[in-house]
C-alpha cells in the first residue's frame, strides 16, 4: 500500500520506451531536479511560515495573518519582496566570493535533501552510504558561511564566520557519533535499510536508554550545526548585528535564510529516519487493530508528521532559550557532548554485539 516505486518505475519505463536513452536520462534527471527544487522552495517557504507561527505562539502573538487565509501567503509575499530588492554591492568586498557564498550554502542543503526517503519508494537516490553522504554534504555548508563572512569585508561578519566555523566543525563530531549509534543498531548506512530495520519498532524505543541519549545528543548537536538558537552565535544579532550575513541583501540574503531552514529540515528528517522509524507508521506491539488503522495513514504523512515534530522541538529551543557564549558553546561540545556520545557509542556497540536490543 502507498508504494511510490511502481509509479516511478512506470515513469522511467515510459521514458525509456518513447525516447532514446540519452533523452530519457536527461528528461528523468531534469524532472527530478525540478521536482526537488520546487519541493525545496515550497518547503523552505512554509518552514519560515511555521517558524513565525510557532514563534508567535511562544510569544503570545498572532503571527502572520493578513496575506492569504491565516497568513499562508505571507512568506511568498516576503520572497517576492526579497526578489525585487536591490542587491547592495560592497566596496572592497571580494565580489566573486561574496556572490558565490550563498550558492555554496544553498547547494549543500539541496544536495542533502536528495537522498532522504520521504516515503516508500520516494527517494531520489538510495546510496549505500546514505548517512555518510548527508554528513559529507552538510559539512560543505560551513565553507559558504566562512567565505561569506570573509568576503563581506565587515568585522562583524568575520567574527560571525569564525564562530560559525568553530561551532560547526566541533558539533559535526557529535552529530556523527550520534548518527553512528543508529548505524550500529541498524548495521547499515543505507537509509532504506535503516528504515527496514525499524519495521518491528523504532530505534528510539528498541535501543533502550542509549538510543534516547543518542537522539537527544543528535538534536542538540544538530541544532548547533544549523546555527540556530540557542546556538545562533554566528549571527548573534545583539552582538554582531547579523553575523556572517550582515552585508547581504535581497535574494542572496534569502538564500542564506532558506538554507538555514532547509538544513533544519535535513537534520530533523535524518533524526526521523534514523531514530523515529522514517516513514514507518507507529505500531503497538501485537495490537493488530490499532496497527491496521495506523497502516492506513500514508507514509508521507508519517514522515512529515515526525519531521514536523522534531522541527517544532528545535523551534521551541530557539524561542525559549537565551544564547550561549562561544566558550560555553565549545565547552558544551568538547567537555560534555563528545565524551558522553563516545561512551554512549561504546555502550551501544556492546548492546548490539550482545543482541540485547529488542
Amino acid at each position: 500500500m502507498y508504494d511510490f516505486a511502481p509509479f516511478i518505475d512506470s515513469y522511467t519505463s515510459y521514458l525509456n520506451a518513447h525516447f532514446s536513452p540519452f533523452w530519457a536520462g536527461l528528461i528523468s534527471m531534469v524532472s527530478l531536479g525540478v521536482a526537488l527544487l520546487l519541493f525545496y522552495a515550497v518547503l523552505g517557504l512554509y518552514l519560515v511560515y511555521a517558524e513565525r507561527k510557532v514563534c508567535a505562539q511562544m510569544q503570545n502573538r498572532m503571527g502572520p495573518n493578513r496575506v492569504g487565509p491565516m497568513g499562508l501567503f505571507q512568506t511568498i509575499a516576503d520572497l517576492i519582496k526579497l526578489l525585487l530588492k536591490e542587491l547592495i554591492y560592497i566596496r572592497n568586498a571580494d565580489s566573486f566570493l561574496f556572490n558565490i557564498a550563498p550558492f555554496i550554502v544553498i547547494v549543500a542543503s539541496i544536495m542533502a535533501i536528495g537522498s532522504i526517503p520521504f516515503a516508500r519508494g520516494l527517494q531520489a537516490v538510495d546510496l549505500n552510504i546514505g548517512v555518510l553522504y548527508i554528513l559529507a554534504i552538510s559539512s560543505m555548508g560551513v565553507i559558504g558561511v566562512l567565505i561569506a563572512g570573509w568576503a563581506s569585508n565587515s568585522k562583524y561578519s568575520v567574527i560571525g564566520a569564525m564562530r560559525s566555523g568553530a561551532q560547526v566543525i566541533s558539533y559535526e563530531l557529535s552529530v556523527g557519533l550520534a548518527l553512528l549509534c543508529a548505524i550500529t543498531f541498524a548495521g547499515s548506512m543505507q537509509l532504506s535499510e535503516i528504515i527496514a530495520s525499524q519495521q518491528d519498532g523504532w530505534w528510539i524505543f528498541k535501543g533502550h536508554i542509549p538510543a534516547f541519549v543518542a537522539f537527544v545528543i543528535y538534536l542538540i548537536a544538530g541544532t548547533a550545526e544549523t546555527n540556530r538558537g540557542p546556538f545562533d552565535l554566528a549571527e548573534a544579532e545583539s552582538e554582531l548585528t547579523a553575523g556572517f550575513h550582515t552585508e547581504y541583501s535581497g535574494i542572496k540574503f534569502a538564500f542564506f535564510f532558506l538554507a538555514e531552514y532547509m538544513n533544519m529540515f535535513v537534520i530533523a528528517a535524518l533524526a526521523t529516519t534514523l531514530f523515529l522509524g522514517g516513514w514507518l507508521p507507529f505500531h503497538l506491539y501485537n495490537f493488530t487493530a490499532f496497527n491496521t488503522v495506523m497502516d492506513y495513514i500514508p507514509p508521507v504523512f508519517w514522515f512529515f508528521g515526525k519531521t514536523a515534530f522534531v522541527i517544532y522541538v528545535m523551534m521551541w529551543f530557539k524561542w525559549t532559550f537565551p544564547r550561549l557564549r562561544i566558550d560555553q558553546l565549545l565547552a558544551l561540545e568538547w567537555k560534555y557532548l563528545l565524551p558522553i556520545s563516545l561512551l554512549n557509542l561504546l555502550l551501544i556497540s556492546f548492546l548490539t554485539l550482545m543482541q540485547w536490543h529488542f
Partner: protein
Amino acid sequence: MSGPKIIFFILAAAILVFSVMSIFSRRILRAAIYLLFVLVSMAGLYYMMNFQFLAAVQLILYAGGIVVLIIFSILLTSQINSTLDPPRKSHLLLGAVTSVLGLILGATTILKYSFQASASAPIGTDMRTIGRHLLGTGAEGYALPFEVITVLLLAALVGSILIARKPKV
C-alpha cells in the same frame, strides 16, 4: 554521447579549469575556493565510478576538513585587500619549463603503457566489504588499528601547541 559521458566531460573540464585557476589566482582565499571546486568535482568522478564511500570520504576529509582548515588559517592571518605578489619572471620561466618537462614525462609514460582490462571480477565496494577490511584481522585487515595510531600524531600536535603557546598575561 550518453548522459554519463557528458557528465564526465563536464567534471573533467571543471577539474582542469579550476585547478588552473587555483594556481593562477592572486587572491589566496579565491585559490582555496577553486581548490574546493576541484575536490568536489573529483568526488563527483568517484560517484560516477560507483566508489560512493570514497566520494563521501573525499568530501568529508578534503572539502569539509582540509579546505575549511585552509580557509580558517587564511581568515586568521590575512586581510581582504592583500593579494599575492606576482611571480618573478625567472620563477615563471623556470616553472613553465619544469611543468612542460613533467607533462612530457607523464604523457609518454601513459601513452607507452598498454592498459588492459582486468580479468578478475571487480571487488565490491559496498560498506560491508570496507568495514570487514577495516576491522578484519585477516589479509588486507588491520586498517583500523593502523588508523588509531594516527591519534598519536594528534596528541603530538596538541602537545606542541601547548608547549609553544604564549603564557597567559
